[in-house]
């Protein structure tokens, strides 16, 4: 790693102030950022840890019945504490990375990074979550702007993520055998106002909603409705772990399985 200054604020306000500095970068659990820095592919002048800000850690349910997760909450805490309120979200969190990674990696870090193969973006987009920052609320539909691209401004911190709880829901992850990230992950959620299908791992544009599947499932929430569809079109990733055609096929298979299991 290159040398950097380290800051460990105790409040959101302190963190915001620290991040206003020249080439300052927020540090969540660091499970992606630190390996990147070890490869010297990132070189912040100051690293601002968000791991000691109590108001950003924890899981609760608000008056609207939404499950609210502090931006610095580790995956393992979500897996434990969200289980009673939003089991599918807890299960998703409980299968990110591995147990040791889950004890460090945070929801805010994952969503800020927006890795095209990460699980949380599928949950947030599939749930129509609201990403709360120190300055505003961002609807998930407006938040994900492409691979590693988000609506966050420089220095903006994800303080909380609010998930409406669906009537029916399931996440199916088909793992890339080396990284164990999602080769394809499909999050299907049925709400009173419609079905959302969010796909991660497959597209070089990052997480996306599969509109045809949502339309079909709004008409008939069954695996058969998915079986009748063609695989999604679009900018599917082709790499050593699978061609674009294979990924498109997996999207359909995983969507069908998620519907069946929801």
């Amino acid at each position: 790693m290159y040398s950097f200054e380290f800051a460990k604020p105790k409040t959101i306000d302190e963190a915001v102030a620290a991040l206003a500095g020249e080439e300052a970068q927020a540090l969540g659990g660091g499970q992606t950022l630190l390996p990147t820095m070890k490869q010297r592919l990132a070189a912040p002048a100051t690293l601002v840890s968000l791991n000691s800000i109590p108001e950003m850690i924890g899981v609760c349910v608000n008056d609207a019945g939404h499950v609210c997760i502090g931006g610095a909450t580790p995956h393992a805490v979500v897996a434990r504490e969200a289980a009673a309120h939003y089991p599918a979200l807890a299960a998703l969190a409980g299968h990110i990375g591995d147990p040791a990674v889950r004890n460090r990696g945070t929801i805010g870090g994952s969503l800020a990074n927006n890795d095209p193969s990460a699980c949380y973006p599928a949950a947030a987009l599939g749930s129509g979550a609201v990403i709360k920052t120190n300055t505003r609320d961002i609807a998930a539909d407006d938040y994900f702007l492409g691979m590693f691209e988000t609506a966050l401004n420089e220095g903006e911190i994800i303080t909380e993520v609010r998930f409406p709880v669906p009537q029916k829901v399931n996440y199916q992850k088909f793992v890339q055998p080396a990284s164990r990230f999602a080769l394809v992950g499909v999050f299907v959620a049925k709400y009173a106002d419609g079905v959302r299908v969010a796909v991660t791992g497959a597209s070089s544009d990052g997480v996306f909603r599969w509109a045809e599947a949502e339309a079909a499932l709004n008409a008939d929430f069954s695996k058969a409705a998915i079986d009748a569809l063609s695989p999604p079109e679009g900018t599917m990733i082709s790499d050593l772990h699978g061609t674009d055609a294979y990924r498109a096929h997996l999207v359909k298979v995983m969507t069908g399985r998620a519907v069946a299991a929801a």
Binding site: F6, L27, L34, Q39
Partner: protein
């Protein structure tokens, strides 16, 4: 430099560290606790797993400065107070759960974390929990068997040796 104070294997330690000092480096180079190993640079192999405030983490992917005030347990702190092998360590020896020994510290630390969360895991649960610990020697057979045995379950039915 930042001053960092931790409790490592029950002993308070204070050192000046750079911001970039990883916990693994702090332990290996700063404290000469070389039982914690580094086998990769992408946070996957798990040879560096230690417990921080009771939770297993990868010490190669955490900054020492970020863990100021933490209580850390490493493989050097896992034996019984009299120096004898703990139940998990003894099970690894009894069931030949290690060969070259390089991944072993991380395996033992992960096994301890698993059994704390889930005192009687199934074979499938053990294998799933070891997702972040890679071993190249044992083919995992005897590691899984050792962890099941350490949990007090009968492993007699699992293929001999």
């Amino acid at each position: 430099m930042t001053q960092v104070t931790m409790t490592v294997n029950g002993k308070a330690v204070t050192r000046d560290v750079e911001g970039r000092t990883l916990l693994a480096e702090f332990l290996r180079e700063g404290l000469r606790l070389t039982g914690t190993h580094v086998g990769c640079d992408t946070s996957q192999c798990g040879a560096c797993v230690v417990h921080v405030n009771g939770n297993a983490i990868k010490s190669c992917t955490a900054l020492a400065a970020d863990l100021d005030g933490a209580s850390v347990t490493t493989i050097e702190g896992m034996a019984n107070p009299d120096g004898s092998l703990s139940v998990i360590q003894q099970a690894f020896q009894d069931h030949h759960g290690l060969q070259c020994g390089f991944c072993t510290p991380g395996m033992v630390m992960s096994a301890a974390a698993l059994l704390k969360e889930n005192p009687k895991p199934t074979e499938t649960e053990v294998r799933a929990y070891l997702e972040g610990n890679i071993c190249r020697c044992t083919g995992y057979h005897n590691i899984v068997k050792a962890i099941l045995a350490a949990s007090g379950q009968d492993v007699g039915a699992i293929a001999a040796e």
